[in-house]
């Protein structure tokens, strides 16, 4: 499956002020309840773990499952004290890992 993701964060944020982080990940989120054209069950494959770290510190984590639609879209708020890098990591049931990153400049 083709990997890919899109991340949106403000390029500049004020110290201590919450800002919005948006990420959408290309993933089929296969439920495990479907069958293919030949009637064979399609194995479940969902992103079950998602974590976002800021300068190494976990700031957001989510456990997703078969109830989440394909290409999950997550939005959450983070507060930053120093400039640094937001790193996103996730892993699916097939063991495939994905990651994305975004850099932030903190002012004020």
């Amino acid at each position: 499956m083709a990997a890919g993701s899109r991340v949106q964060v403000p390029t500049e944020v004020r110290r201590g002020e919450p800002f919005e982080v948006k990420i959408s990940v290309r993933h089929p989120m296969e439920t495990g309840f479907r069958v293919d054209d030949m009637g064979k069950p399609i194995a479940r494959n969902t992103i079950h773990e998602f974590i976002c770290r800021y300068n190494g510190t976990p700031v957001f984590a989510a456990n997703l499952g078969s109830g989440i639609a394909a290409n999950p879209y997550l939005r959450f708020f983070v507060t930053a004290l120093d400039s640094g890098e937001l790193k996103f990591e996730w892993v699916d049931d097939a063991g495939e890992r994905g990651d994305a990153a975004a850099t932030l400049r903190v002012t004020g």
């Binding site: 899109r6 949106q8 948006k22 959408s24 989120m29 639609a69 290409n71 879209y73």
Partner: protein, 257 residues
């Protein structure tokens, strides 16, 4: 006598339809039949999942492939300029073999003849991504296909298919999308059946899909014999659909239920 002439004129107008059955003032993009949430999803470039394919397409556009070692960008230098308005003109008649081709077929023709790379499979991730990227460059531009000269025969073929009854349900495309648009089919509102959002992200598919796939889904719905996704009849129908949506803005990648 006068009434007779009028009737004749009307009949002739129907048989040799030169103006679409739905007048320009009543044309409505499929998105306007959707819910507020669906419209919001399409209009927000970040929430629109189709943009995942557009971004992927942009990368593919710059990646050299095939034995010629050329990327799309090697010939078409600045995509945003070179491709602007292209999708609004498709399908077109290919000059070399006099066949009607859609955007997907154009991309594959470029791959095989210019890049010397194998053609991409219909509905494959890469073909959808490239098509979405190319179509996205024309976003907001009005559909304007040509049906003159060599395109005329294909247009006629597409129109005939559109108005012919198909399948076990004995329905023509017009039965739903011209005579009953805006009314309910179970929980769905019937749209006018315009192609301006494709390739579009359909929530039912949980993926991006081409116009050919969407038409095939309609054929399946009326229990008609399925056309292969590269059937020339399908491309001819795409040409007719683009013509009857003349003036509607390209929305690709659209979002539909």
């Amino acid at each position: 006598m006068r009434i007779g002439i009028l009737l004749l004129a009307l009949l002739a107008g129907n048989t040799f339809a030169q103006t679409p059955a739905i007048p320009a003032s009543e044309l409505r993009s499929g998105v306007s039949f959707g819910s507020a949430e669906l419209r919001a999803m399409q209009s927000d470039d970040f929430a629109n999942p189709g943009m995942l394919w557009v971004e992927r397409g942009q990368k593919l556009w710059q990646t050299p492939v095939g034995s010629a070692g050329r990327a799309c960008a090697s010939c078409h230098s600045d995509a945003s300029l070179a491709l602007k308005g292209v999708a609004a003109r498709y399908p077109v008649v290919n000059a070399s073999d006099r066949r009607v081709i859609d955007l997907e077929a154009r991309i594959n023709a470029c791959r095989t003849s210019q890049q010397k790379a194998p053609a991409l499979a219909a509905e494959s991730e890469d073909l959808l991504a490239l098509t979405a990227f190319v179509a996205h460059q024309s976003r907001g531009m009005p559909l304007a296909v040509s049906i003159s000269d060599s395109a005329r025969a294909f247009f006629d073929q597409g129109r005939d298919f559109y108005y012919a009854r198909h399948g076990q349900m004995d329905l023509s495309c017009a039965d739903c999308h011209e005579h009953n648009w805006g009314r309910k089919l179970l929980a769905e509102t019937i749209s006018q059946g315009h192609p301006n959002a494709y390739p579009a992200y359909r929530l039912e598919w949980q993926s991006l899909g081409s116009l050919a796939r969407r038409i095939r889904a309609c054929l399946f719905g009326i229990r008609a014999q399925m056309l292969a996704s590269d059937d020339p009849q399908l491309t001819a129908l795409e040409l007719f659909l683009a013509w009857r949506a003349d003036g509607l803005p390209v929305e690709a990648p659209g979002v539909r239920r």
